[in-house]
């Protein structure tokens, strides 16, 4: 509000009335993404990359996983005489645990949820508490562009980081092991990255849902972490309790009882996103895994032991992948419905 009188050059020019402008804005709603996703996603992407939070997590993940891979490579070299392992030595870099450290994949299984939660828990409630949300949604964008843009930005950042990490690990692997990945191994690694991004998307969508649901960022962070801890630690304990209560298998249990017990346990465990992700990555990174869940002896009798092709592995873990994608869609839909109905007041 300077006193200068020649200041206001801006503002409405008569030539471009509302009618001319509406053509750009009210495009048919048939498009997949809402109007305004692009700018929102770009801004959030830049925010994530320059933000301290993502940096800290990235360093944490990079350090732990690189250590894991280094440990794994020593283990692999020690066991290089094992012929089965040599065939897919490169993939073993990611799945084998060293003497004192868990494997690359177990670190990722543990830390990926944290990444998703960190990127999503304050997506909307921070906008609300900063007073930027009412400004944002009063721009000519669809309201769901805010949700979609933030979600896509989170996924973009995660994909970028994960791809970089796998390439770094691969490079180290080439040096340490002296082998190069085969085409199939590259394909499996790409599939691994995609599945991991989907797994992070699960937690991102959940955290984003909580950020719509809870007005306080701290509440939504706690709620997300509670869910994560529940699945990471308590879920398997509870499953064990339920299984032993419903289908007990004591010392002198019959085969049928044992089978029922094992099957129930597998089924219940699959309600945990971590289990789904674990199964999917196990299959993708271990060509020798031919089945998930319970197998009776008769089923593998006279089976020819050998690795599965990539396509067959993918087929094997397809349900797990779809289940994760389904969960993401459910979370996303719920947050969409909540957010669209919400009235934003300053």
């Amino acid at each position: 509000m300077s006193e200068s009188s020649n200041a206001s050059v801006v503002l409405s020019d008569p030539g471009r009335g509302p009618s001319a402008r509406s053509e750009q804005v009210s495009r048919p709603r048939s498009r997949f993404f809402a109007v305004g996703v692009g700018p929102v996603a770009r801004k959030e992407f830049a925010d994530h990359l320059s933000g301290l939070r993502f940096g800290i997590l990235l360093v944490l993940i990079a350090v732990t996983t690189l250590a894991a891979v280094y440990a794994a490579s020593s283990a692999i070299r020690a066991a290089a005489s094992d012929s089965a392992k040599v065939e897919f030595a490169f993939l073993y870099l990611f799945t084998v645990s060293g003497e004192s450290l868990p494997s690359f994949t177990s670190f990722i299984t543990f830390l990926a949820p944290l990444l998703g939660i960190a990127l999503g828990f304050d997506a909307l409630n921070s906008e609300r508490s900063q007073g930027t949300l009412s400004r944002l949604i009063s721009q000519p964008i669809h309201r769901d562009a805010v949700l979609q843009g933030k979600f896509l930005a989170g996924l973009g950042v995660v994909s970028l980081a994960l791809t970089a990490l796998v390439i770094i690990v691969g490079g180290i692997g080439i040096v340490l092991l002296g082998t190069t990945p085969s085409l199939e191994e590259v394909g499996r690694l790409i599939a691994f990255i995609v599945v991991t991004v989907i797994y992070v998307a699960f937690w991102l969508a959940l955290a984003q849902l909580f950020s719509v649901l809870f007005k306080q960022a701290a509440t939504s962070a706690l709620a997300s972490i509670a869910v994560w801890l529940f699945f990471a630690i308590f879920a398997s304990l509870i499953v064990g309790l339920i299984v032993n209560a419903v289908a007990p298998a004591g010392d002198n249990a019959t085969n049928a009882e044992l089978l029922r017990n094992a099957q129930l346990e597998t089924t219940l465990n699959r309600f945990s996103p971590g289990t789904l992700y674990d199964e999917a990555t196990t299959v993708l990174l271990n060509p020798s895994v031919r089945s998930l869940g319970v197998l009776v002896y008769e089923q593998i009798d006279r089976a020819v032991v050998g690795p599965l092709s990539f396509g067959q592995s993918l087929l094997l873990c397809w349900p797990q992948i779809l289940a994760l994608v389904g969960c993401v869609l459910v979370f996303f839909t719920v947050s969409y419905i909540l957010f669209m109905r919400e009235e934003i007041r300053a």
Partner: protein, 348 residues
């Protein structure tokens, strides 16, 4: 009790000089309920192109809810809103592309500079980057933030945030500007600057401006028309002098008179008391008080002619006679009291 002012537009164009008046914001039967609570009750409102309309009322009167419905940010329970011909419920994007909005309690991304915040808004409005930079520079100069443009918005004072918010609302080159409590939290000088900017936008750009406030005297000067909003009802709307006149007609107003004797010299207290007593018996006069030379009357309608005649008949000469002007505060206060005592005053 019937209402005093037709609150919209239509034929009373004689009061607004200039070309035919185009209505750019029109709400009909607008109602918003939250469960049992009615925030806005059957509101009819028309705002003409190029005017500054002040929506006045206490906190919680439904001003913000009305604004949200105008912008299509919340759905009315019933009624319709049209903003420059677009339906706010069905086509909010078109409405939002022509309306600049300054929300109550506005905020910015604290880690981004003022300029970056504006740039983001520009990108959301699909303004090409080059043009956006030009507009940002001009607007920052306009609101006096050029110096602070590259400071983080988190470090801005309340007044600076408010000014940045105005620039933010203007970046899309709106034809309508809606401001929710724009003067809150800024110092008197800042308020003056802001109101000056609003007047300039109106005269130079022909912009239509709707502002809400509970600080009446601040906005009184710039508003062409005001609407007084209490408890979800628009109980009166019109230009300030018009509201004043109508209040005077239906309610007591205050007059003051001072007299001298026929010889032009002050008269004794006795004479004044006699005059006061006789004035009290006049038609329309309710109450007369005398403080030294000044006699104050409360009465209904314009009683000045009767009062001065009465004084002259007693051989006295009125040297001072005026109706006490009502500030918007008085008007608002009256209407507010009325609403509180009578309950709901219908508008139609």
């Amino acid at each position: 009790m019937s209402v005093m002012v037709e609150q919209d537009a239509g034929p009373d164009a004689d009061r607004m000089p200039g070309p035919p008046l185009e209505i750019v914001i029109e709400a009909t039967g607008l109602t918003k309920r939250y469960g049992q609570f009615t925030a806005v009750d059957d509101l009819d409102l028309s705002i003409r192109k190029g005017e500054i309309f002040g929506l006045l009322g206490p906190n919680g009167a439904g001003k913000t809810t009305t604004i949200l419905m105008l912008l299509g940010l919340t759905e009315p329970t019933s009624g319709t809103v049209r903003v420059v011909g677009y339906d706010s419920v069905r086509d909010p994007l078109s409405v939002k592309s022509v309306v600049g909005y300054l929300p109550d309690n506005v905020g910015f991304y604290p880690n981004m500079t003022g300029r970056q915040n504006l740039r983001y808004t520009a990108s959301l409005n699909r303004i090409p980057p080059k043009e956006a930079e030009q507009r940002i520079d001009t607007l920052l100069a306009d609101v006096g933030l050029t110096e602070a443009a590259d400071k983080r918005a988190g470090k801005y004072s309340r007044g600076m945030r408010q000014r940045l918010a105005i620039a933010d609302a203007l970046i899309k080159k709106p034809s309508i500007l809606i401001l929710d409590e724009p003067t809150i939290g800024i110092d008197p000088e800042g308020v003056r600057d802001m109101l000056a900017l609003l007047s300039r936008l109106k005269t130079e750009e022909g912009m239509t401006i709707l502002l809400s406030s509970h600080l009446l005297h601040q906005v009184q000067a710039v508003c062409d028309r005001v609407g007084i909003f209490v408890g979800g009802h628009l109980i009166a709307a019109g230009p300030v002098p018009e509201l004043e006149r109508q209040l005077a007609e239906k309610d007591d107003s205050e007059f003051e008179i001072a007299v001298v004797g026929g010889d032009g010299r002050p008269v004794s207290d006795e004479v004044l008391d006699r005059l006061a007593l006789s004035l009290k018996s006049l038609e329309g006069v309710r109450d007369v008080t005398r403080v030294r030379d000044l006699i104050t009357l409360r009465g209904r309608g314009d009683i000045r002619a009767r009062v001065s005649r009465s004084a002259i008949e007693q051989g006295l000469v009125p040297v001072h006679l005026r109706q006490r002007g009502m500030s918007l505060d008085d008007i608002y206060d009256r209407y507010f009291r009325e609403e509180a005592s009578v309950g709901h005053v219908g508008i139609k």
